[in-house]
């Protein structure tokens, strides 16, 4: 999957949730949205991109949300 697109999608999701004044809600919102709507291969590709490219291009809120919810976002082995 095109990592740039995934990063952009994740950033757009983050931009929406970032307007919540409660930081926990921001993190849960971003991770929950990705968990609920992204096919495993998309999540896998995003995680891989973050690991391999030090999160390049991702908004800090995306990185924080993913770090805090890494386990639930990691797809079961294919």
């Amino acid at each position: 999957m095109d990592a740039h697109k995934l990063v952009r999608m994740a950033n757009e999701i983050a931009t929406f949730f970032e307007s919540d004044p409660d930081p926990a809600a921001v993190s849960d919102g971003i991770a929950g949205h990705i968990r609920r709507f992204w096919d495993p291969r998309m999540r896998r590709a995003l995680l891989l991109h973050i690991d391999e490219h030090a999160g390049e291009g991702c908004r800090p809120a995306v990185l924080a949300a993913i770090a805090a919810n890494r386990k639930s976002l990691t797809p079961p082995a294919a």
Binding site: M1, E12, F16, D39, R41, A78
Partner: protein
Amino acid sequence: MYSVKEPDAGTPERNSSEQVTLEIDGRAVTVPAGTSVMRAAADAGVRVPKLCATESLEAFGSCRLCLVQIEGRRGYPASCTTVVEPGMKVRTQSDPLAKLRRGVMEMYISDHPLDCLTCPTNGNCELQEQAGVVGLREVRYGFDGANHFKQAEKDTSNPYFDFDPAKCIACSRCVRACEEVQGTFALTLQGRGFESKIASGDTDFKSSECVSCGACVQACPTATLVEKSIVERGQPDHSVVTTCAYCGVGCSFRAEVKGSEVVRMVPNKDGHANHGHSCVKGRFAWGYATHKDRITKPMIRSSIRDPWREVSWDEAIAYAASEFKRIQAKYGRGAVGGITSSRCTNEETYLVQKLVRAAFGNNNVDTCARVCHSPTGYGLKTTLGESAGTQDFDSVEHADVIVVIGANPTDAHPVFASQMKRRLRAGARLIVIDPRGIDLVRSAHVEAAHHLQLRPGTNVAVINALAHVVVTEGLHNEHFVRTRCEQPAYDKWKAFISDPRNAPEATEEVTGVPAAEIRAAARLYATGGNAAIYYGLGVTEHSQGSTMVMGIANLAMVTGNIGRPGVGVNPLRGQNNVQGSCDMGSFPHELPGYRHVSDPAVRALFAAAWGVDIDAEPGLRIPNMFDAAIDGSFRGLYVQGEDIAQSDPNTQHVTAALESLECLVVQDLFINETAKFAHVFLPGSSFLEKDGTFTNAERRISRVRKVTPPLAGKADWEATLALAEALGYPMQYTHPSQIMDEIARLTPTFTGVSYAKLDQLGSIQWPCNDRAPEGTPVMHIDEFVRGKGKFVITEYVATQERVTRRFPLILTTGRILSQYNVGAQTRRTANNTWHHEDRLELHPHDAEHRGIKEGDWCKIVSRAGETILRATISERMQPGVVYTTFHFPGSGANVITTENSDWATNCPEYKVTAVQVSPTGEPASTWQRRFGEFSEEQDALLPRTDSH
């Protein structure tokens, strides 16, 4: 006129709590106050002769055929215009009445060409019938008085109906139908007495204001206005009640049939969505169903450069199944998927998602709602708890303020627009929020109180500004918010929305809407009585589509405009079964009834019913499928009734994705743009060829009934069954009603739905279950589906699609009345008379600046691609904004649209593309030339038969 005869009580029904009892020809009858004597007589089983009266129109009292005698009153009042009174004693038959009526009839007949035997409405003409009823035996005035039939010529300019003034009896039913039912005011009755005649302005029908809805034709009691199909094919012998397959209004029709051939579609007056009205598409544009381009034999090929080979159903299905199995074995279970269609029935859609989930074993199923109303599902579910509109259409009759946002109902939802216009003529106030001056802003007897002509892409800033005014000026409904909504979420939202950055004065520069206009509109919405919001794709097809839907819900909640007739949040759905296809579990994260696949209890329910494990992981959405196809992890796709190659954005990316598939199975009526990339073609069946149900924009489930046998031998649901069986997952249904029974068993909001109940009630609005056995016209009455309504913070975020010096204009897209969506159906009808090409609409200022004149070819370039269209110069646009429709594939509208999409649902941002426009001498872009060549190449690969 209805040919398969239906009773006509002569004047409209009245609703009143007060009942009036009177006596008609010695029979006592009780009717609501305000009812006409004529209608009361019909209730008592007494038919009074009539010509100018019909129950869809207010009485006019011109023909004098319906005279009666009333005890204690002098003279002979007209029963259609006389209102019942308690204790009235009415006589409808007597010698003097009979004489008077015969006299009236004699006058009419003396001015009428008596060519009944060759007249298209012979046997179905009210004049003929009434002459019989009144016992006309002679015509003392001769047959050559000041006759109509000497003067005027037939007007055959409309492609669907003729106007033969010779046969006109000047009853003005047509004029009144155009005014009262349709609201277009295209016809007038000119002159008096024998001189009076009907005119469509000072031009013929085709060039007039007429929108070809056919209401006048239906109202005409003679053959003056008559469908060409009836002239050509004769009168029908039976009729079948079914549902229109075009837009989300979901009009009910009687398909009138002669043998097994449809000769006319007449809107059903018992139809709950349309009450006997229709638009040009549903009534007239059904000829595509038998168009010569229909493919009626299954075909296969191993590469898209190979010729198609016609094969048996068995061979085609076996080939498709073996390919899907091969791909899954090689690339994994998730390498294949399916796309359901909003043009197919609920049952068909349900089967396709079931096939994907049970036979493919994954959740890679999506539907075309992805590209239109997916943000509605997300936004309304989050805030209100259910992914659907809150009201029935009739609710608009109770609205005092109507807000139309990013929708163009007169073109896209014409029958509902007529109902809305009726309410507006009766005094409701209108607020339009749209970058374009749509027809509603100013049309016959309708004018918007406020037109907030915002810049495309700034919806959320406008809705926030409206809510800001409501909250900061104290216009909110404190009681509603306190009792019905989640308090903590409201408090957070209130702090957000009250911030000065959301004030109209602060957003004015971004939105282009003057602050004073926003303030006035907000005050009207909050304080003008029942306020209802109707919105369309101008809301959803944005990078903040879902945010905007939630912003709309916030505004409705904060003013308490939810949970009763006359208010609500109402998405106007584009295609006929958008609501249904979403309800049926077409989304990759939801099983039928909008239940997430991660919920173990829901999965267990379906697993038990279907005998398979359900994948707990969400699948790919349509744009993700394209990306995964290019990436190589997605290789096989089953597409039912959708044309993703034309309708989805960034065409070149889509076609690259389609080209990289190893097996693309397309099931459709025609070789559409997507089928040009297919390996298996399964011939589809039109809505006239199958049984099923559609669910319209008001959650109304209506029956689709088989009128003629499927041309290709299988209805679509049967083809899906065959494919599932070949994939090793047989499903046992012998009729779509059994599929609905299964849906009802597994979906709490459908528990009470069955074909038997649909037959009994006519239609049902879900939820329909023990709590609401006859369905639910208005939702969220005592509490929200999610319990308490949830306010959501909706920060405005500008789209990344910015105008720059290189791309200084914003392109937005839309549709027009006569064409439907990708146009595969309507382009194959005479509707092309009105719209035979997509054009670029631009403001005179932008045109002049670029040296573009009306009709010039102009090149439109975006970051995604370029295309060439002719220009139409129009004041409806604001400077800086250009517009086009997307009904013709060669226009390449989606070559220029980008892949930007809604943050929550990936619904494409069709409504905002930064472009540059310049005049050009060339009539085609490189893409358009290549498109033309590819289409020709693909045409040549079709089997040679007489029909190709």
